[in-house]
């Protein structure tokens, strides 16, 4: 079996980001569903979900479902070798995962599949009372701003604005997004919602936003937040993070 994605850099940034939070897991490639990777970090604070639907691939030659156990850091190291205009080919042959770049020349890597059983993770059915949509670079700037001050970020959403706050020993930071300023693409909130999350996970995973078009931030007061990255070709990377309980 093999699948080909038009831009290896998308995978490079997303997998590299995930590898900072999760060490290993199972790539599931399904003839109908496409590619999917779901995993939870060891402390159970974050659950990541990466999906590339069947149609997002230029070539999709999969006849039966395959589970490939991988060490994400190993894959990320290889994917960091992706250059502009490289296509990514993923394959699976006699217990080995094939990662190949085709652009200027063809470079292929083979890694043994790890003996990992896919974790049976529940499909989250959470409802979110606040839904905010921002451009991915606005989102990345927001994380970088907060990193200067504290290690906790606090989301606050109301009818017409989305505020991210942090306070630490160094001081306080407040970033305000409004529709008028153009920083906020969409906002839909029931009343006012506020919740706090550990910044570290956002920082670790922020690399994925480099290849995302827009980011959807969904949360409710003192409930988990779902951060959805819209990737090219209808692919999606999201993570669900537990709130901080003070």
């Amino acid at each position: 079996m093999h699948i080909v994605f038009f831009d290896a850099r998308v995978w490079r940034y997303v997998i590299s980001a995930i590898s900072k939070v999760i060490e290993e897991g199972v790539f599931v490639i399904d003839p109908d569903e496409g590619f999917r990777f779901r995993a939870m970090d060891p402390s159970h604070v974050v659950m990541v979900d990466l999906r590339f639907p069947r149609d997002s691939f230029e070539e999709f030659d999969v006849t039966e479902k395959v589970n490939i156990g991988v060490n994400l850091e190993d894959i990320a190291k290889i994917l960091r070798r992706a250059r502009k205009e490289d296509k990514l080919k993923l394959g699976y042959e006699s217990g080995k995962l094939i990662v190949a770049f085709s652009g200027r020349g063809y470079r292929e890597f083979r890694l043994p599949s790890l003996d990992i059983t896919a974790e049976q993770l529940p499909e989250p059915q959470l409802e979110f009372k606040a839904s905010v949509r921002v451009m991915s670079d606005t989102y990345r700037d927001m994380i970088k701003d907060i990193e200067l001050i504290g290690d906790v970020l606090r989301f606050k959403a109301s009818q017409d604005e989305f505020v991210v706050q942090s306070s630490g020993e160094l001081g306080e930071a407040e970033i305000v997004f409004t529709r008028e300023s153009g920083s906020l693409l969409e906002v839909e909130v029931e009343g006012e919602q506020t919740a706090s999350y550990t910044l570290e996970y956002f920082s670790d995973l922020s690399g994925a936003a480099r290849v995302a078009d827009a980011i959807n931030i969904r949360f409710s007061t003192d409930m988990p937040a779902l951060i959805e990255h819209e990737l090219p070709q209808g692919a999606k990377f999201s993570f669900l993070i537990a709130p901080r309980v003070e």
Binding site: P42, H44, V45, V46, M223, P224, A242, P243, R244, V245
Partner: protein, 278 residues
């Protein structure tokens, strides 16, 4: 099946005697009596307790406890009863009392409880309690603490997976050390014995078989290890790391620490949401 509970408020003495006999004949009942009574004891020692309001508990295994309305310890007790009898007795002043007689076989000890007035009697059949009483932490809790604080095992160790499935079972913790070696960790909350060493060896062997070109270390984590186990461990080239469970508890798990925990598990929220939508 839920327990069956039966009770009488302010029972007449005849009713009380009948109720007690009925439930004692089944034997498995737990009985609670609030009554005015006097108690006599004779065995290794002897005592007499005059009349007063007491709480009497008779447990399904024959243990009998008589509590005064204050204090945590019983004033009279019988660790077990060979014979438990209930009968009516008429005192000198022709006043009637219900007598509960518990006889312990060895050492021979007799407890006589004379009830002159009962306020409440209750019986519960089929109470279930199979939980283990755990001092400080159980194995799963130790595992979770070490997963989030691998530095307690050794500096530079990163935990990759908790409960990693491998052919003969599950590896408690699987990680990578500072040198890049794979580390397989087996945790015991009591003194590690030979079978714990063999179990760890099995996991290490299974892992090596699956990943032939990797370097693998096996670490047995426990409060102590038996001599035989240590010999075998050395022979297999495995390692032992001593942990102090009380210290781990006080450092990471005591009630105060738990109340200031920073995160709930994301799974808790997902489970709650799934329950709510059902």
């Amino acid at each position: 099946m839920p327990p069956i509970v039966d009770f009488h408020l302010q029972p007449q003495l005849e009713e009380l005697a009948k109720f007690l006999r009925q439930h004692l004949s089944v034997r498995r009942a737990l009985l609670i009596i609030l009554a005015n009574c006097s108690v006599e004891y004779e065995g290794r020692s002897a005592s007499h307790l005059g009349e007063g309001d007491r709480l009497i508990i008779i447990k399904p295994d024959g243990a009998v406890l008589v509590h005064r309305p204050w204090g945590y310890s019983p004033v009279n007790w019988q660790p077990d009863s060979k014979v438990l009898e209930v009968f009516m007795e008429t005192k000198h002043n022709s006043e009637k009392v219900v007598v509960i007689k518990s006889v312990r076989a060895r050492p021979r000890e007799v407890l006589l409880i004379r009830i002159s007035k009962a306020y409440l009697v209750a019986a519960a059949q089929g109470l279930e309690d199979s939980a283990e009483f755990v001092e400080y932490l159980d194995e799963r809790q130790i595992r979770d603490i070490l997963a989030s604080h691998p530095e307690e095992i050794e500096p530079g160790l990163r935990i990759v997976r908790v409960e990693k499935p491998i052919e003969p079972g599950f590896i408690d913790l699987y990680g990578i050390d500072s040198q890049g070696n794979n580390v397989i960790i087996e945790i015991k909350r009591v003194t590690a014995n030979v079978s714990a060493v063999k179990q760890l060896k099995e996991y290490v062997d299974a892992f090596k078989a699956k990943n032939p070109h990797t370097r693998v270390r096996g670490i047995l984590v426990a409060p102590s290890i038996s001599k035989e186990a240590l010999l075998l461990l050395n022979k297999y080239g495995l390692e032992f790391k001593q942990i102090n469970i009380e210290k781990l508890y006080r450092k990471y798990f005591s009630l105060e620490k738990r109340s200031t925990q920073k995160h709930a598990s994301i799974l808790d929220f997902i489970e709650k949401a799934a329950l709510g939508s059902r």
